[in-house]
Symmetry: C2
Subunit: 998 residues, 2 copies
């Protein structure tokens, strides 16, 4: 059972100060609608990017206003003041990263005032995640984490009345099914957004389908449904009705004696806008966003004019009821009118990707933009999950309170999900700031790893001299790790998965010969050359070699400890071989002797023809229509150029006991290692791209393309935020008529973790070999299958033109005075379609899910300096266990009697029918799962853990699906059952088990 139920969150909750709740928040606090009239819901809001043209802190404080006049502290501050003035005024607060920063700065009086506003429904919290996350490049782990973290801060400060009901994804550039599903699982009632394909938008306007019921997951069914509203006219205020200090639109002049009196004019023009808009919706309610990017720094200004607008309508157009409202009040009004009039809303089961804002403007470039940032974010997540677990163990084992060390990382990971962060659509200096923030947060998170490891592993209380300073080798990708170049060092490999895994440790070294001692004795290793010479990287001296060994059978939520000494006796040398077959009969590949390119792949004993190559598009420079830029992918030509002009690429081959590698050089700026580990069922493509050479002053967008002869029938599959797979059909959209003006970028989709092909394009058997072939990645990328049997992923972009969507810079990342270099990995795997396998045969899906997990939550390698005398192998072996499992080993316990609260999240990672066995519902008894503590109470929570699941109430909607009841809250005994794809979140009260030295 442990195989499928994958515990990925386990963390101590600091209990919140109880907040006095008022009963007047919620729908009863809404300003009244009048069913006999058109009801215009003015929704005052400010869209505050958590970094974009300016850094997070610059936006918060209002620094560098010459770039953009924006200071979020003033927005929240002035809104809270303006809301005091009139009890009918409303505002919605969205980004908790900013709200929390502001909250901490406030005196108690202001906090109390703010709570009152929330308790009276005048300040409504919506979305409430740390940032408004991207939906293409963000992984669902991180999305859920950042909602959990944001909502926890809201809970702690504002209490029940702060609980949001609404998803507010107004700016992200396309919308995913998984996001819809997450919103529903958190308990939200609806989600609103502004951006969707221009053809889709037009059709929805015409057909009154701007509001719909979206089923986010076919596995979860109606439980993942969410009301979805497309805003009438983007998320800004109507043209000429922005009364913000940033806008300069004409104010309302209501002094009848004034020469410039204009209430009548303004009201009639606004009424025109309303009567045009109401035609696009099925009810008599119209939501009008009054705000925009960083509006409301001088909130009173905006409100003063809206007050006058509302008064003006009462005077000149009493047939239209204009009121201050919020998305939840609007939704409530729509629901009520819908129920009374039996209005049926469209059902949608696909997603809103890709987003084209116009005929030549496909927002598919950002799927890949800034690949290094996208990778660093994944590493941050990986480390965060590792540290959450180890910190918990350290606490429960030893009362070590290091959880505050993780706060910066949690915050930064929330920031990184922002739709101008992980997307790569920010200015260069902002991207650098994200890196700086994440680096600093990683350092803080690691600060006390030495103590944690010591306390987890120590055999006696008297083990302080076995304490070693550990850190991650974040620059191993450029062959630099200071500690692994020492004569003696230790390595901790921590496995955050709840099952045993092997991990191939790779460390930059300069030595030729080593002794490695692990918990099970001496360990075999290999030394291989690095992919390239990284000596161009400033301020490091990179190693030229990599030490490779397997950390085998890493225990679940556990670690192994290795002691590594350079040895002068033996000289271990990598073997250069002359061969074209690599690996073994189970897992291997061949290369074409002439071209040097991949020619076939063998996995699970099955061999298929498969080639891989790098090529690049030239980005359109925007002389006609739109340029390729940070957001937009628009190739100047539909056929990409091969990366290597030569017929034969240069390559070197290595065969060892652990791994076989082919090192390929495609051109001056593209290299790759194709690698197969002896005991793995995937092929690894370890590529290095950059500095991209610009040719003829045109932008370059590099793809890796995998070519097979499979007949995929125009169909391919891409993941949704790393969770469910979504079917894509080339040159086709499910809900509107696709036009093929941009045949390349129009077929690009976000590949957050996986792209795959199926023989015949479907699950039908008797199609080719009934194979599924998947490519997994180590960060989000854009990708497609532009021809049958092909898959391509865009891996790097260097562009010379801005695409004119606001960032104001071409995406031309420079580092060390050159275009930036990117290194990354793809993992190729395939297997039989589950529908065509016998139940005993492992499905393709089983492989993919397995690999994806092991890459996303990879075992984490900490390296420590063991050169001091006290850190001899003997002493460390005497003082420390070289192995630990959070799920299997009881830890020393310092007799604390503290009751504590932890968050436990369990997930079924398979979709229905993906695997005959693994897709079955599962049950896990958690009673005996944790050696550290006994569970004394358990309560099921929303997906974001911010409220008991039993308290989630949802409105009912009339749509085109058979109405099934929401899944009932199930009993919360210690046997937790999970349906396919389900994630269940619990708050568990625990007490430590009694001390029990091993």
């Amino acid at each position: 059972m442990m195989r499928i139920a994958w515990l990925f969150t386990l963390f101590i909750l600091n209990s919140a100060k109880p907040i006095k709740d008022s009963e007047s928040c919620g729908y009863e606090s809404c300003n009244k609608v009048d069913p006999s009239k058109i009801n215009v819901h003015l929704v005052p809001h400010s869209h505050d990017d958590v970094g974009w043209l300016k850094t997070v802190d610059q936006y918060y404080y209002g620094a560098k206003n010459y770039i953009q006049p924006a200071g979020v502290q003033h927005i929240i501050g002035s809104v809270v003041q303006a809301l005091q003035k009139d009890s009918t005024r409303r505002f919605i607060q969205v980004e908790t990263a900013f709200f929390w920063q502001w909250w901490q700065d406030q005196p108690e009086k202001t906090k109390e005032m703010t709570r009152q506003l929330v308790n009276r429904g005048r300040l409504e919290i919506v979305n409430a995640a740390w940032s408004m996350n991207d939906e293409a490049a963000a992984h669902y782990h991180s999305i859920i984490d950042q909602f959990t973290w944001g909502l926890k801060r809201i809970n702690d400060t504002l209490g029940k009345c702060g609980r949001p009901k609404i998803g507010w994804q107004i700016d992200p550039f396309g919308h995913s099914k998984e996001m819809a599903s997450i919103f529903s699982q958190i308990g939200y009632e609806g989600v609103f957004f502004a951006r969707l394909d221009y053809r889709d938008s037009k059709k929805r306007h015409l057909n009154k389908d701007l509001e719909l019921i979206w089923q986010g997951s076919s596995d979860l069914g109606n439980f993942s449904n969410i009301f979805t509203g497309v805003l009438y006219d983007f998320y800004t205020a109507p043209a000429y009705f922005c009364w913000d200090i940033l806008c300069g639109d004409r104010p309302i002049i209501d002094n009848e004696k004034s020469f410039d009196y204009n209430v009548n004019t303004v009201v009639h023009e606004f009424a025109d806008y309303v009567t045009k808009g109401i035609e696009y919706y099925k009810t008599n309610n119209l939501l009008i966003t009054m705000g925009g990017d960083f509006t409301y720094q001088a909130a009173e200004m905006y409100f003063t004019n809206m007050d006058k607008l509302i008064a003006g309508f009462k005077k000149y157009r009493p047939d239209i009821n204009v009121l201050y409202s919020t998305p939840s009040c609007y939704l409530k009004a729509v629901n009520e009118e819908g129920r009374i009039k039996n209005i049926k809303f469209q059902l949608k089961t696909d997603d809103f990707f890709p987003y084209a804002s116009g005929i030549h403007s496909y927002w598919t470039g950002y799927f890949t933009s800034r690949p290094n940032s996208k990778r660093f974010e994944r590493q941050g997540n990986n480390l965060l999950q590792v540290m959450k677990q180890t910190t918990s163990f350290a606490k429960y084992g030893h009362n070590l309170n290091f959880e505050n060390n993780l706060i910066p990382l949690k915050e930064v990971m929330g920031i990184m999900q922002h739709h101008d962060a992980i997307t790569g659509t920010e200015k260069q200096h902002v991207a650098q700031d994200y890196v700086r923030l994440l680096t600093a947060a990683v350092n803080t998170a690691e600060e006390d790893v030495d103590s944690i490891i010591l306390n987890i592993l120590k055999k006696t209380d008297n083990a302080d001299d076995a304490k070693i300073k550990f850190s991650s080798c974040l620059m191993a990708n450029v062959s630099h790790c200071e500690k692994s170049n020492l004569d003696r060092f230790t390595v901790v490999v921590y496995n955050p998965l709840s099952r045993y895994v092997n991990h191939y440790v790779r460390l930059p070294v300069n030595g030729n010969s080593y002794t490695i001692v692990g918990p099970d004795g001496n360990v075999n290793y290999e030394i291989l050359p690095t992919i390239a010479d990284f000596s161009y990287v400033d301020s490091i001296t990179p190693s030229k070699k990599e030490l490779v060994f397997v950390a085998e059978n890493l225990p679940p939520l556990g670690l192994k400890y290795f002691y590594i000494q350079m040895s002068k006796s033996t000289r271990k040398k990598h073997k250069i071989v002359k061969q074209t077959r690599f690996g073994n009969n189970n897992s291997g590949f061949t290369i074409d002797k002439v071209t040097g390119l991949l020619s076939s792949v063998t996995l699970n004993g099955v061999t298929i023809e498969l080639s891989q190559n790098f090529m690049f598009y030239n980005g359109a420079n925007g002389e006609t229509f739109r340029a390729s830029g940070a957001y937009i992918f628009r190739p100047a030509n539909t056929t990409p150029t091969a990366a290597s002009f030569a017929k034969t690429i240069t390559y070197t081959t290595y065969a060892t006991d652990i791994v076989d590698e082919v090192h390929q050089i495609f051109n001056n700026w593209i290299r790759q290692i194709i690698r197969v580990y002896k005991n793995e069922n995937y092929i690894e493509f370890d590529w290095l791209v950059g500095p991209i050479a610009l040719i003829n002053d045109l932008g370059v967008e590099v793809v890796t393309r995998f070519v097979t002869k499979r007949l995929s029938n125009g169909v391919f599959y891409t993941d949704s935020n790393g969770k469910q797979m979504v079917k894509r059909i080339r040159n086709f959209r499910e809900m509107y008529t696709y036009t093929n003006e941009e045949p390349i970028s129009g077929n690009y989709y976000p590949i957050t973790s996986c792209i795959l092909l199926k023989d015949g394009g479907s699950d039908n058997c008797s199609q080719g070999d009934n194979l599924e072939i998947a490519v997994l990645n180590d960060r989000a990328q854009g990708g497609s299958s532009l021809e049958d049997g092909q898959m391509e992923l865009m891996i790097h972009r260097r562009l010379l033109n801005d695409d004119n969507f606001g960032v104001g810079e071409p995406l031309n990342e420079i580092e060390f005075n050159e275009g930036v270099v990117v290194r990354g990995q793809h993992y190729l795997t395939f297997g039989r379609k589950n529908t065509c396998s016998k139940s005993s045969v492992k499905s393709a899906a089983a492989n993919q899910r397995d690999i994806a997990q092991r890459k996303l939550l990879s075992p984490w390698v900490f390296v420590g300096d063991a050169t001091s005398n006290q850190h001899s192998l003997q002493n460390l072996q005497a003082k420390l266990n070289f192995q630990f499992s959070g799920l299997a080993t009881a830890l020393p316990n310092n007799n604390t009697n503290d009751k504590a609260t932890i968050l436990l999240r369990l997930e079924h990672i398979f979709s229905k029918d993906e695997d005959n066995v693994l897709s079955q519902p599962a049950t896990l008894n958690i009673g005996n799962l944790f050696p550290l503590f006994n569970i004394i109470n358990i309560e099921e929570m929303s997906l974001a853990a911010h409220m008991p699941k039993i308290e989630i109430e949802k409105m009912t909607w009339n749509s085109f699906i058979p109405a099934t009841p929401s899944r009932e809250v199930r009993s919360t005994d210690l046997n937790i059952d999970l349906e396919p794809m389900e994630i269940r979140t619990f708050i568990v009260e625990v007490v430590p088990k009694t001390r029990n030295f091993v």
Copy 2:
């Protein structure tokens, strides 16, 4: 006695709602200074022009923000909100025009909140006049009026704690003695400003004389003293420390975890600014203005950063005490330190004119800019005084409540005093708006003149058919008055002076023969041609002739009524004569037969050589240094060009029984009538200038120059706001070394009402003929005496370049597609210096003061349509008295028993020693002055009537004059004594006298 004590204000006060006063306002509410440290007084303020680049309403509402992002409603609104947040925060509110508009818009809750802030000293009212008036072109009548009106609104809304202590003239372009005197008389403790001559400023910085005691009036002596502070560094925030939404300076980032933390840097830079500044002052207090033009629309932003600055100083520079303060709190601190340390401040008795901001930037152009606006403002004042009086009579006679009709005019007159209104330094569209506002206010003020006149004059209650609609002929200056062109019309001539005067009525007519019947029977008249053909003026049909008659012996505060019928019988024709002598032996002039120019003048029996001509300077275009513009007068050449190129100008001469006139044509765009009325002791110059012809694309600045052979010894005299006369010496300044880079404009001074020369340049006798020669004007102008015996006044300007001080437009007024035409009058008079006259001989000053009064508060002519049958002479004579005096005649009274409160202001209009008799102290018994009511109570008030004089408390200062006590409040019995130049203001409670039909 009535001759010298000149009652000029008499108006009903609407009593204010009593306001609960708190005892915590005033100095005790100041944040504490620390005598052991440098005390930095941060004074948050917003400088809100009552019109400049935008109109008053545009500024208030924030309309047309593309011109300038400014909305005053948001400034006051957001400040009031921000002041709530922290009890140490302070703000000063200056312009009552805006405050009152805002106040009326607020809900009671906000008003109450605002009162609380005022009561706690957190919002301090300073200046508090309706606008921040100009000090060069504004007349002291209007200045006092606008302070009275502004302070009344403050009193009514905010009560005692709203009483200002501080004059805040931070932006006006030079500073007058009379303004200093007015501030002192209103009871203010000090005045602050920013603009003064650059050499003066430098010297004061070096000598620590930026703070001084200014004696505003030698007549009033120490009673007119006021502490005067020149701000350290203009009125804006220090460079890089403006935290307004308009500024974009770096905010303080005080999160120590932030990469951008900068508290230490900001504090140290600010401290540098402080330690540099404190060197310029004598105490350890430094006032730093935190604000600027239209700052604080998002007040919280500014305050948030100042909060952090203050906190930062506590942390990094505890030796400097930075506090929120106000000018009054600063002043109090300076005074206390001054008293303890016995610090002596400089004494100053001259003024701060002209203002040169740099070597080529003399702000002397605005003394003349937009001459038509400057004249219209004077007319507005004239009408306002007339209507205040007549409205009072109508109320007391008949319970007619028309006083609210005057509110717009009072408000607009306050607006017109603004330092970008009467100065002519606003944008063209704003100037048009001022005219529109003033026109509308005049129309409202006149709305019920028919009822007022009927009720004042009616002999019986049954006189309604004698009611005639009256209005002013505001376009008589272009020979247009609809009603005076009717066959039958009536004329009311109201005299607002408290003595009998004659008035020469001039009305545009088309007829040739008229019958005029006044209260004393038939009236003689003349018909003369107009100065020019005004048919180019749009939408009117101008008359070609003017009817002239004398309204003789107009009673004080009284009127005469004339019935005028066109007659067909006689044909009255003006007499064209061929002569060079005009007038009579007492008053007359001669012209040079060859040139056509004036050659001599006879007044009071004395004849002197005197010529007059028009000439013009070309304005510098700014290619080097500064252009001549709305603010700046900078001629390209020092010798002006004569207006007429010909040796002989064209002229026509007319001699009549009433008036002799010479009509001169100087060139295509300059004409003039020189005129002498038979019974007047002045020569009138009635000129018409424009459209100015531009030559060689250069600006043109037209002057009229009077040339005599008097030896004036480099000395001339100009008035200060129409009150006291100030001695000027060519190429010299009293308190700093003058450098003569701009010999013309550097010697220009504001001529608000009068410029004069004295034989020998002083009051010493035995100099020439011991004459004083004065030119009075009908509006403010710039003027000088550039050579001995000469006086010149600039009368019109047309410029093609902006002078780069913000207005952003060249001063090129266009009307009817041409440069604008200006018409105006000068009055030349002379007489013996008083010091050299026998006591029985009328002094020159006696003449000047007499003429000035009769021109400023001229008898006002209303014209009514009498064409309907019921308005026959017989009927009107039967129903109406044709004469009324508010001081001499008892009016019908409708038995009202209402007690009422009126404001009474009495003024001694002569300076010490100006006239042997008239300069003596005077006493007036007011007990029997008013036939309408009995005085039952009297209380002396501040000059602005906003507080009892007895409540005025003033700090004492150590300066270089013998300390004399403040003038005591004198007994307030009905005998009011007046010292020279003194103005005394009383609130008088009255009850109506019993009914008494005449």
